[in-house]
């Protein structure tokens, strides 16, 4: 079995790089020129946020904080579907 104190070398580096990517995606979502760009960046940002949840749960050593990842992962498809349906229906009108 590996000593859990080894995590102190791995977790801050990974969490820092993921936080940097998360901030760049949030700037893209706020700035993006067209609507599909913003929805696409929101998808990738959701995937990053799942890993950030699991890393926070590993930091606090509490399994209750990790359960939020599964509803977040299953709602990725919904916003794409709704926005695509809105765009096609407005064009047809």
């Amino acid at each position: 079995m590996v000593d859990p104190s080894l995590l102190n070398y791995v977790l801050p580096v990974v969490l820092g790089v993921y936080g940097l990517a998360y901030s760049i995606y949030s700037i893209v979502v706020l700035r993006g020129p067209t609507v599909p760009d913003m929805v696409l960046a929101l998808d990738v940002m959701t995937v990053d946020l799942i890993i950030i949840y699991l890393l926070i749960a590993l930091y606090y050593e509490s399994p209750m904080l990790a359960i939020g990842a599964i509803p977040l992962a299953s709602w990725i498809l919904l916003l794409d579907f709704v926005v695509a349906k809105y765009l096609l229906e407005v064009r047809k009108k």
């Binding site: 995590l7 760049i24 599909p36 998808d43 990738v44 399994p63 990725i76 064009r91």
Partner: protein, 121 residues
């Protein structure tokens, strides 16, 4: 012995996945068109998400912590990875189809539009 191997494999997968996620984020800033940004979205979601979730599951399995914490995070990471593999390419495909057909994002440096020639617009 197998635990040290799992720990090294998992942590190297996580570092690789973090770097891939950063590359995808920079690609979102540098590309100039929506249909080009789909490539960097694929790098960011599959390379940056699924590899990291599998690496996190392997890394958690090798730690010396109580069992209910270890197996809980392992199961959540595997299920989330399966959901992301299923849902992310489907969403990108639906979105790009709607963006082309509604004229919301036009492919700007366009040489020849074969979809319009075939009458499938």
């Amino acid at each position: 012995m197998i635990d040290v191997l799992l720990f090294v494999l998992g942590s190297s997968l996580m570092v690789l996945s973090a770097v891939l996620s950063l590359i995808g984020a920079v690609g979102f800033l540098r590309f100039r068109n929506f249909f080009l940004r789909l490539h960097s979205a694929t790098v960011g979601s599959i390379g940056g998400g699924v590899y990291g979730l599998v690496g996190l599951a392997l890394l958690t399995l090798s730690l010396d912590v109580p069992g209910y914490l270890k197996y809980y995070i392992f199961g959540v990471a595997i299920v989330s990875a399966a959901l992301v593999v299923f849902a992310s390419p489907t969403g990108s495909h639906i979105l790009s189809r709607a963006a082309y057909r509604s004229g919301e994002a036009a492919p700007r440096p366009l040489i020849r539009d074969k979809l319009k020639e075939a009458g499938l617009e």
